[in-house]
Symmetry: C2
Subunit: 300 residues, 2 copies
Amino acid sequence: MELRHLRYFCVVAEELNLTRAAAKLHMAQPPLSRQIKQLESEIGAELFERSARGLRLTPAGQFFHEHTLQILEKIDTTVAAAQRMARSKRVMFGIGFVPSVFYGQLPLLVRELRQKDNVELVLAELTTVQQVKALKSGRIDMGFGRMRIDDPDVEQENLFDEPLMAALPEGHPLADTTPTLAQLAEYPLVLFPAQPRPSLADIMLGLFRRRGLKVTVAQEANELQTALGLVASDLGITLVPEQVKRVRRDGIVYVYLADPGLTSPVICSRRKGEAPSPIMQEANAILEVLVENRRSGRYP
Amino acid sequence: MELRHLRYFCVVAEELNLTRAAAKLHMAQPPLSRQIKQLESEIGAELFERSARGLRLTPAGQFFHEHTLQILEKIDTTVAAAQRMARSKRVMFGIGFVPSVFYGQLPLLVRELRQKDNVELVLAELTTVQQVKALKSGRIDMGFGRMRIDDPDVEQENLFDEPLMAALPEGHPLADTTPTLAQLAEYPLVLFPAQPRPSLADIMLGLFRRRGLKVTVAQEANELQTALGLVASDLGITLVPEQVKRVRRDGIVYVYLADPGLTSPVICSRRKGEAPSPIMQEANAILEVLVENRRSGRYP
DNA sequence: GCTCCATGATACCTCCAGGGTATGGCTCGG
DNA sequence: CCGAGCCATACCCTGGAGGTATCATGGAGC
C-alpha cells in the first residue's frame, strides 16, 4: 500500500464516481479503477459497493475514509512542522509518559512548554520500560513513569510519592470509610493495567502480598477508563494514584486508605551524563515549580 | 511522497546507517540512499546529517521520525479496524463536536458507545458549520455544537441550556462575587474562539451588545487553554460555558453571573428524515439519560 | 420491452522510476 | 599511509503505474 492509494481513495470516496474522480486527479479512469481494486485487495475488505449507477461506501469504507483523511492531514502537518523546524532552528523536545501520570501536573508542564516558540513538543504514551529505550534512542528527552528501572544510561529522579486511593462503586460498604488494605482484600479486585507488564498492577499486587493478604482478581483491564467502568459496574474495586480522583465518573467514589506509606511514586527519567539543553533547563525549572506546588499542597 | 519513503526513513532513522538499514529492508544501499535524498528534497528539509561515519538525525529529522512512527502506526490500526468491520458487519458511527462541549457529558456518551462491540466510533472535532456538511456527506451521524444553523437536511435539537460563567484571574476584584455583565464589561475581554467565525465569541459579544454594553477586547485566542492562560496571566477576563469549570487551572477562578438567562445552548444535530439506525437509537437512549441527569443536577 | 447512455471493468501497450551492480570518494583508526 | 566502512554517483534493467480502446451492465426513458 502506498500513499497514492490513500489519496485516490479519498477523492473517490468524496466523488463516489470513478470517472469524475479520475478527472479531478488528472488521470484516466481505468488506472484509478485498478488502484482502488488493488487497495481493497491489499486491505482485504470491500470499501465500495459497485453498481451501474456509481459507487457507495461500505461501512468499512466509510470508516476507512474518515481515518484516511486524518492520516493525510497528519502527514501534511508533520511535513509542514518539519520544514518550520529546519528553517527556524527550532528544536524537538520529546516527553514520554505512562497514562496514569497524565491526570496530574504533567498537562501543566506540557502547556508551559508549548508556549515556548523555539520548541516543538512531542508526546508519546510509553510504558516505563519503553521510556528507557526511547530515551537512549533520542526519541524522547524526558520520561514520566511509576517504576524504577536500573539502566546505566538513564538517571531517575523521584519527584514525589503520591498516595494511593481505593476506587469503589457508589454505595459500597467501605464507601464512607477510610479502609485498610486488609479490609479491601475481602473484595474482588479489578487489576490494571493488565498489559503490558510489569506495571502498576504488580505494584498493587505486591502491596497486598507484602502484608500477607490474599486477593481475588475479578477482572483485568488495560485502561483506566475501562477499570473504572468495571468498578462502577460493581465487578470489583481497584487502587489508583491520587491524581486519578480528578476523573469523576458517575457511580465511583474514591477513598483514602488507612495504611500509612501506601504510595505510588512519580519518577522522572533523563539520559545520564548529558549537559542539559536550554529546553531541558526550562523544563526542569517548570518541573521544580510544579513539584514544589504539589508538595505544598497547592494542587489537590 | 509515498509511504515507501516513510517506511524507509523510519528504518534508517533507527539504524542510522544506510548499509544496515538497506539490509534490513532487503534491498541494496544505493536505491535506499536515493529514496532518502528524494524524501528530503520533497520535504525541503535536511533530515540527516551525513558524515563518513554514518548518519545523525537533525532536529527536524528527529521530529519527523517521531511523527512518522505515529503515522505508520495509525495506518496499521486503521487497516486492521477496517478489516474487522468488513468481517464482522460492524458499523461506523461518527460524532462531530465543538471543543467546548467536550468538557461535559459528551465523554460519557462516547464511553458508553465504545462499549458496544458492534460499533466503530469515529470522533471529529468540527465547527458547527462543518458539522452540517459532515452530516450530509455521511462523515458523521451526530453533531454537538452551540449554534443554530438553518439547513433543510439537518434537524437540530436543543439538549439543554448551560449557564455561562466568567473566568477571572485569581485575586480579581470580582473573584468572590456574582457579577453582572455590566460589571464585567469594565474589564478587558479575552475573546475565543477567534477562528473560525462565527462562534461562541460572537454569542459572547452579542450578549454585551444587546445590553448596550461596550467591551474592549484585549486579546483573541483560538483555544480554550490559551484563553485561560491569558486570563491567568491577567490579560483579561472571559466567559465560558459552565462545563468548562471542570478545567481547573492554577490562577483561574470561575464565578456565576448575576444576570439571569445568560446561557449557551448545547445543540445536537442529525440528518433529517432518516430512520434511526440501531446505533442511533442506542445513542439517543444514552443521550436521553445524560440530558435527564444533567437537568436533574446529577452532573455538576 | 427495447434502446440508449452512463459507468465501471478488462485487455493491452508504453515508458518512467524504483531497484540492482559497479565504483568512486571521503573520513577515521591503526 | 593504508585499509575498512560508509555514503554518493553512474548506469542498467524491469515491474508496474498510467494511457487508449473497448466491453459489460443495468437503470432511465420512450
